[in-house]
C-alpha cells in the first residue's frame, strides 16, 4: 500500500521549470534517498508535496486519496512528518519538552499520551538530559536531533528528512543512521551527503534539471 504518491509534479519559477514532471511513490515501510546538487530543487519538491508551494501541474495522493485542499494537506502533514533543513526554523518553543509536546497537543491527545510520546522520543535518541533545556541553549547538533524527535512525537506513518546530517558529530551521525535503518516508518531522506547515502545503502533517486531519475 502507498502512503504517498506524487504524479507529474511541475513547479515553475519565472521561466525556469524547477520540477518537471516529477513522479514517485512511497510505500508502507519503504525507504529511499533523493539526492541532488545544491539548488537542484530538492527542498522545493518536498515543500510542494507538503502544500507550501503551489504546483503548476501534477497530483499528490495520500493513501490513495488525492490531496486537493488545505484540509487534505493538514491530513498529509500529520501523516508524513517533515524535518526541516534548518532546525532553527523548526524549533520555536522555549524548552525542549514544550517543543516535543507541540504536535501531540495540536492533535488533542490526552496528557498521559503526550507524556508517553515525549518520553519515547527522548529515549529514541538518548536525549533525556535535554528535556528541561531551553532551545537557544542547545548546540547545533542537539537542535538537529531535537528537531527530528519533535516530529516523532506526532507518530507519523512516514518521515521526510531534509539534509538531516548537517551539524552532526560522529556519534550523533551514527545514532541517526541506526535510527533511520531501524524505524518501521516509511522514510525519504533528501540529501547530498555522500557518507549518509553510503551508510544507509538505500535506493537513490537523483533530482537533476527538474527531473527525478532512479540511480542504478
Amino acid at each position: 500500500m502507498e502512503v504517498l504518491r506524487v504524479e507529474e509534479l511541475t513547479v515553475r519559477r519565472g521561466k525556469r521549470k524547477v520540477l518537471d514532471g516529477v513522479t514517485f511513490s512511497l510505500r508502507v515501510g519503504e525507504k529511499f534517498i533523493i539526492a541532488g546538487d545544491n539548488g537542484a530543487g530538492k527542498t522545493t519538491l518536498i515543500e510542494t508535496v507538503m502544500g507550501f508551494i503551489p504546483a503548476e501541474g501534477g497530483r499528490i495522493y495520500l493513501k490513495g486519496r488525492e490531496v486537493r485542499n488545505e484540509e487534505d494537506f493538514y491530513a498529509l502533514r500529520t501523516t508524513v512528518g517533515y524535518v526541516f533543513q534548518n532546525p532553527d526554523d523548526q524549533l520555536f518553543s522555549l524548552t525542549v519538552e514544550e517543543e516535543l509536546a507541540f504536535a501531540p497537543l495540536n492533535l488533542k491527545l490526552s496528557r498521559e499520551e503526550v507524556e508517553r510520546r515525549i518520553d519515547r522520543a527522548l529515549k529514541a535518541f538518548s536525549i533525556e538530559h535535554l528535556r528541561e533545556k531551553t532551545i537557544h541553549s542547545l548546540s547545533g547538533g542537539e537542535k538537529r536531533i531535537v528537531s527530528i524527535a519533535c516530529v516523532l512525537t506526532m507518530e507519523p506513518e512516514a518521515l521526510i528528512l531534509d539534509e538531516p546530517t548537517t551539524g552532526l558529530d560522529r556519534k550523533r551521525f551514527k545514532r541517526l543512521v541506526e535510527f533511520l535503518k531501524e524505524t518501521d516508518k516509511s522514510v525519504i531522506v533528501v540529501t547530498h551527503d555522500v557518507e549518509l547515502i553510503k551508510s544507509l545503502g538505500w535506493k537513490v533517486y537523483r533530482l537533476e534539471n527538474g527531473k527525478l531519475f532512479l540511480l542504478p
Binding site: D89, E97, F102, N106
Partner: protein
C-alpha cells in the same frame, strides 16, 4: 520569608494591573505615596533583585527627567517664577514631579513582580487571563527569537569586521549598518514564513497549545486577599 517568586504569575499580573491603575489615577502626592509601602514590600519580596531594579529605575528616570524639565518650561499656569528671560511654571514642576513619582512607583512594582517570573510564564499567564491569542503569540515569538536575531546581527557585524570594516562616523558606516538591518529584516521575514510552515507541519490550526498549566495555591490566595485589602484601604481612605 515570603518571596514573590512562588506566587502564581496570573495573580501577579492581576494585582500589578490593579495597583498600576490605582497609582496612575492618583490625583496628588499623598495618594500616590500611600502606595509606597506596598511597592517597598514588593521590592523586599523580590529578593536579591533590589539593586538591579533600582538601576533600572535610574535609567528610566533619566528619560523622565527630560519630561519634567519640559513641563517646567511649557506648562501654562498662573504660578510662575521669572528667571531672567525665562518663565518657569511652578504647577508644571509639581505635575512633572507627580508624574515622575507615579511612573517610578509603577515601574518598580512592575519590575519587582515580573522579574520574579520568567518572561515565558508571564506570557503564559496572559494567555490564561484571556488576552487575545494573537497578542500572546506575538509576545512569545518575539521573546523566543530575540536571541536568534541577536546572534544573526552579531554574525553579520563579525563578518563585516573580518573584511576590514571599522565603524566610524561616516556615510559608509551608516550604509553598512543599514544593509545589516535590512538583511536582518529580510531574514526575519523569511524565518517567520518557515517557522509558520514548521508549525503547520505539526498540526497547528491557529491555536498555540499550552503544555504546563498553573494551579492556585494557598500562598496565592493569601497574597491576592492581602493585596486587595491594602488597595481597598487606600481607596476608602483617599477617595
Amino acid at each position: 520569608m515570603f518571596s514573590l517568586a512562588v506566587i502564581d504569575p496570573r495573580v501577579k499580573v492581576v494585582v500589578l494591573f490593579l495597583f498600576s491603575w490605582g497609582i496612575a489615577l492618583s490625583p496628588d502626592f499623598s495618594t500616590a505615596l500611600s502606595y509606597l509601602p506596598f511597592v517597598c514590600l514588593s521590592l523586599v519580596a523580590a529578593k536579591g533583585r533590589i539593586l538591579k531594579l533600582l538601576k533600572l529605575l535610574f535609567v528610566a528616570n533619566t528619560f523622565l527627567l527630560f519630561l519634567v524639565v519640559t513641563m517646567v518650561f511649557t506648562y501654562e499656569s498662573p504660578r510662575t517664577v521669572k528667571v531672567g528671560a525665562l518663565s518657569l511654571s511652578v504647577d508644571g514642576l509639581v505635575y512633572g514631579l507627580l508624574l515622575l513619582l507615579k511612573s517610578s512607583l509603577i515601574l518598580l512594582l512592575t519590575a519587582s513582580f515580573l522579574s520574579t517570573s520568567s518572561a515565558f510564564t508571564v506570557f503564559h499567564a496572559l494567555h490564561h487571563l484571556r488576552l487575545p491569542a494573537n497578542l500572546c503569540q506575538i509576545l512569545f515569538f518575539t521573546y523566543r527569537y530575540v536571541h536568534t536575531v541577536k546572534e544573526e546581527y552579531e554574525t553579520m557585524v563579525k563578518a563585516a569586521k573580518c573584511r576590514g570594516f571599522r565603524p566610524e562616523n561616516s556615510v559608509r558606516t551608516y550604509r553598512t549598518f543599514a544593509n545589516i538591518v535590512a538583511n536582518l529584516l529580510v531574514k526575519s521575514y523569511k524565518r517567520a514564513d518557515r517557522v509558520y510552515k514548521a508549525m503547520l507541519c505539526r498540526g497547528f490550526r491557529g491555536t498555540f497549545p499550552v503544555y504546563h498549566h498553573f494551579s492556585l495555591k494557598r500562598e496565592d490566595i493569601i497574597f491576592v486577599v492581602s493585596s486587595l485589602f491594602y488597595f481597598t484601604a487606600v481607596v476608602l481612605w483617599k477617595f
